[in-house]
């Protein structure tokens, strides 16, 4: 008999529809305005903390919906966004900023049994939930310059140790030149350096010069390190901002994407992200007078640098240690209650530091904070030009030989200590960064966008449903069921895929899918009508209608899918969102329009005597 559905197909359809519907369900429950409290380094979130927060909020008369402790974080669910703001400020003031991160969040109100299945609502893009998107560019020139600076230092040190005499070492933008007095030393140096520095290509040039340049592999490593380091630093800085679900990601070779959903104070975010900095420890030059230097008679090897408070100091140009060796810096107080900052160095830095401080006990040392600020101009390659700005942030006397852990004291207040620690932690930046793209969406616009998108979907859907019902009658009902299931499946699959976010263009993609998804059914139904006109029986018409339309539908959808795939590959942000919904929509509409509608048609008309079809 024609048009009977095999049992396995029923099972398949029911299974697929049930699963996607199940995972689409969390979207119905909506989200709560919430405050999320998580511990940073030295603290824990505990039941006691939860209770104390609950009590504190009650005392202030702030109504809470629920308070939960799970996954090492406390989630306070509130009734609306106004109480959220008040509650955040209250909790923030109650907790120590260094120990806890207090962030505003939209927490999905998914029931526990769905949560247990791993179901969660669709992630909303920044254009729908509000927030900031930054694209940051890492200044690669300064990363390589810095690496060549190290090479210069190492060359000088090691050649001296090996008693290989050279005239001078010159740093070029993309190489280092070592000039010798005679060919013999050059030969010796060439042999030695080639053995010691495997990641440099060393070539002999005319006039007794060796030129060393990084191999491409090493350059790629340097660039990579510069980007990853910035990513790490941005992540730690963002913690200060209190954002619930920040995204910091490398994009391409020298860019970093930063997304901060739901953030209100964008100016502060930019300030913190933009504060690129490095640190240097240098000795004071006590042999010469700073006043002479100010008149332009600075001795060779020294230079004048100003303290933050405006006072000039004469510093030796030689850097004892750079901030890149700092692993960690924390503010605290010593046994007398005097604020200080304790610093941890990596092993290489520790060795250098120990040597340098040994030679300089009882001498004053300055901590120089170097910021790079963009001038806004671009060089010939179109890269941003950065300007170096140096400030002394502290001058202290070295009391004893220091190791890889030591403290800086002589700070005026705990606040100053905290700021210095923060600067020191951030001070390890190899290469400065700059925001090259920003997209900020205010919370009100986000809400409005969701509203508009939903209205458009509902109106579009209603129009198509009515049209199909009138035009195809009973078969129109089938097409409409398929279309509605299609929507449920899109939502379900969007919720299942971890990386998929719904954006405003994504919602437009859903609207478009609604219009185009019925195409498959239109093709089939028109085909059935044709077969009927050609004099086939209803059963045969259904059978051949579905069969003949299939390859057409497949071809048409695959080509649209290709367009979607290309959009996904080259597009960014909102465009990606659009292409994801488009592609998912194509896949689900094929399933619902061909398989589901066929199962429905078969179960209604299949396997029995039908003389007339309502089509």
């Amino acid at each position: 008999m024609l048009n009977k559905t095999p049992f396995w197909k029923y099972i398949l359809v029911i299974f697929v529809v049930a699963i996607t519907a199940l995972y689409a369900m969390p979207n119905i429950y909506g989200e709560d305005h919430a405050i999320q409290i998580s511990a940073s380094n030295n603290a824990f979130v505990s039941e006691e903390l939860k209770t104390s927060i609950e009590v504190a909020l009650k005392d202030e008369g702030i109504a809470i919906k629920r308070i939960e402790l799970e996954n090492e974080r406390i989630l306070v669910r509130l009734l609306d966004s106004d109480t959220q703001l008040v509650a955040r400020e209250l909790i923030d003031s109650k907790l120590d900023n260094d120990d806890y991160v207090v962030a505003m969040n939209l927490a999905p109100d998914t029931p526990d049994w769905l949560d247990a299945l791993g179901a969660s609502p669709m992630k909303l893009g920044l254009d729908l939930r509000g927030g900031v998107h930054f694209l940051m560019e890492v200044d690669m020139n300064s990363a390589t310059t810095k690496a060549y600076e190290d090479v210069v230092g190492d060359f000088k040190l090691q050649l001296r140790e090996e008693r290989i005499f050279y005239r001078t070492v010159i740093q070029n933008p993309d190489s280092v030149d070592v000039v010798f007095r005679d060919g013999e030393m050059l030969e010796k140096a060439q042999f030695y350096l080639r053995n010691q520095f495997r990641d440099l290509s060393i070539t002999e040039r005319d006039d007794l010069t060796l030129r060393a340049a990084f191999l491409e592999v090493r350059l790629a490593e340097i660039r990579d390190a510069a980007v990853s380091q910035n990513v790490t630093i941005i992540r730690s800085r963002i913690n200060q901002l209190g954002v619930a679900e920040p995204l910091v990601q490398k994009q391409g070779q020298e860019r970093i994407v930063v997304q901060l959903p739901g953030i209100q104070d964008t100016a502060k975010a930019k300030e913190i992200l933009n504060a690129t900095a490095t640190l240097e420890f240098r000795m004071l030059d006590e042999k010469s007078d700073v006043r002479d230097a100010l008149r332009g008679r600075a001795p060779a090897g020294s230079e004048v640098i100003y303290h933050k408070n405006g006072q000039p100091y004469l510093l030796k140009k030689q850097v004892m240690l750079t901030g890149s060796h700092i692993i960690d810096a924390n503010s605290g107080v010593d046994q007398y209650g005097v604020p200080n900052v304790s610093i941890d160095l990596d092993s290489k830095g520790g060795a250098k530091w120990s040597q340098a401080t040994k030679e300089n006990i009882k001498k004053p040392m300055a901590t120089v904070f170097i910021e790079y600020k963009t001038t806004g101009e671009r060089d010939i390659d179109g890269k941003l030009v950065f300007e170096k700005k140096e400030d002394i942030i502290s001058v202290a006397t070295i009391q004893a030989q220091l190791g890889s852990s030591f403290q800086i004291s002589g700070l005026d207040s705990p606040t100053e200590a905290r700021e210095l620690a923060l600067l020191l932690r951030a001070g390890a930046l190899i290469a400065p960064i700059q925001i090259v793209e920003e997209r900020t969406v205010g919370p009100s616009l986000g809400k409005e966008n969701i509203q508009l998108g939903m209205t458009a979907i509902i109106w579009g859907l209603a129009a198509v449903l009515v049209f199909m019902l009138i035009y195809y009658r009973a078969f129109g009902v089938i097409a409409n069921i398929a279309l509605l299931l299609n929507l449920v499946m899109i939502v379900g699959i969007m919720s299942m895929i971890p990386g998929a976010t719904l954006t405003l263009p994504g919602m437009a993609g859903i609207v478009l899918t609604v219009g185009m998804a019925v195409d498959a059914n239109v093709l089939i139904f028109e085909r059935i009508r044709e077969e009927l006109r050609d004099g086939r029986s209803p059963q045969q018409a259904i059978h051949f209608g579905y069969d003949n339309a299939f390859s057409t539908i497949l071809d048409a959808n695959i080509t649209t899918f290709i367009a979607g795939l290309i959009l996904f590959a080259v597009g960014t942000g909102p465009i990606k969102g659009f292409s994801i919904t488009l592609m998912i929509g194509i896949a689900t509409s094929m399933f619902t329009a061909i398989v589901v509608s066929r199962v429905l048609v078969n179960s209604i008309w299949g396997g029995k005597r039908v003389t007339k079809l309502a089509i």
């Binding site: 560019e137 671009r378 900020t440 579009g460 263009p505 219009g515 003949n548 299939f550 057409t552 290309i566």
Partner: protein, 314 residues
């Protein structure tokens, strides 16, 4: 049977009009290209770089006052206009050589709020000039890649004449859509680019359906001229073509009127693209194929495997 849009008893002689249609399309294409050359596209912020600030006022905004404030604050190049509603104001600033390009958005907000007016920040967008150039490049590349991939797929699935015909139709649709944006000087941003790529997808969808039928009829009807076969195929698929275009136009109209100002460009491009795409799948794709000399011999050897045949007909 229910009612039908068109009850066509006889084959419509579509191809009779193919030369006038060709001339019509050629004129439109030339017009579009000329306009693209002369007026160019009104590139949006995504491509030009610069800063855009959208703010909301509690009452209808006084644009002149906003302009004066901006001018007094030294933003001489500020473009101020309403966006979506009379309460919403869009301020656009060209990329500038300043120290703090990123902070302009916040500075403008502060300027507008200086006299105590309640101004709601709705959106700030800043795009560096470099990023804009890259996006333009990427966009062009995306379109080209889409066309080439589709060309390859159709050539594999059908035949190279069909492939050329459908890609000609796609090129036609894309150029006319871009032309429309150029002539009306509508803003061309990233979402519009996405829409243009979606137009490629849609137009192709239509073309494939027609081509599929042409191929089928070449096999089925042995004694007929290619022109006749094409006419028959177009007539047979006409109802479907119109209905699908209709449902798509319905949802796009909903999107245009209900989706908000941000999505206007997107909806416009697609609405226009769908209509042009429907026309081009009838006239451009088939006519180009015909001009290239489609014949039965080219199509017979490729036996396609019918899928989904898990039941035997009675």
């Amino acid at each position: 049977m229910g009612f039908q849009l068109l009850k066509l008893k006889e084959t419509v002689d579509f191809m009779k009009w193919r030369f006038p249609a060709m001339i019509f399309s050629t004129v439109l294409i030339i017009g579009s290209i000329v306009s693209l050359g002369v007026n160019q596209l009104n590139w949006g912020l995504d491509f030009t770089g610069g800063t855009l600030i959208e703010v909301g006022y509690e009452q209808s905004a006084d644009l002149e006052a906003v302009r004066t404030i901006m001018l007094d604050a030294g933003y001489t190049d500020a473009m101020v206009q309403n966006f979506g509603s009379s309460q919403d104001v869009l301020i656009r600033l060209a990329p500038r050589e300043g120290v703090k390009a990123v902070e302009i958005g916040d500075q403008v907000l502060a300027t507008l709020r200086a006299d105590g007016t309640k101004v709601d920040m709705r959106r700030i967008e800043f795009v560096g000039p470099n990023v804009g150039d890259e996006l333009t490049e990427q966009g062009g590349l995306a379109m080209l890649a889409a066309l080439i991939c589709i060309l390859i797929y159709v050539a594999m699935r059908f035949e190279y004449r069909f492939a050329l015909g459908s890609v000609a139709a796609l090129g036609h649709d894309v150029i006319l859509t871009l032309g429309l944006f150029s002539v009306l000087q509508l803003e061309f941003d990233l979402t519009v680019l996405a829409a243009v790529l979606a137009v490629i997808g849609y137009s192709l969808n239509d073309t494939i359906v027609v081509s599929d039928r042409i191929r089928e009829n070449f096999r089925k009807i042995r004694k007929a001229e290619p022109v006749e076969i094409i006419n028959i195929s177009l007539t047979q698929t006409l109802n479907r073509t119109i209905i699908t275009s209709l449902t798509t136009v319905l949802v796009l109209t909903a999107l245009f009127y209900k989706g908000g100002a941000l999505i206007h460009g997107f909806a416009t491009a697609l609405l226009f693209g769908v209509i042009v795409g429907t026309y081009s799948s009838v006239y451009i794709a088939s006519a180009v194929g015909l001009a290239l000399g489609i014949s039965r011999d080219d199509l017979i050897p490729t036996e396609i495997i019918k899928e989904g045949e898990d039941q035997d007909p009675v």
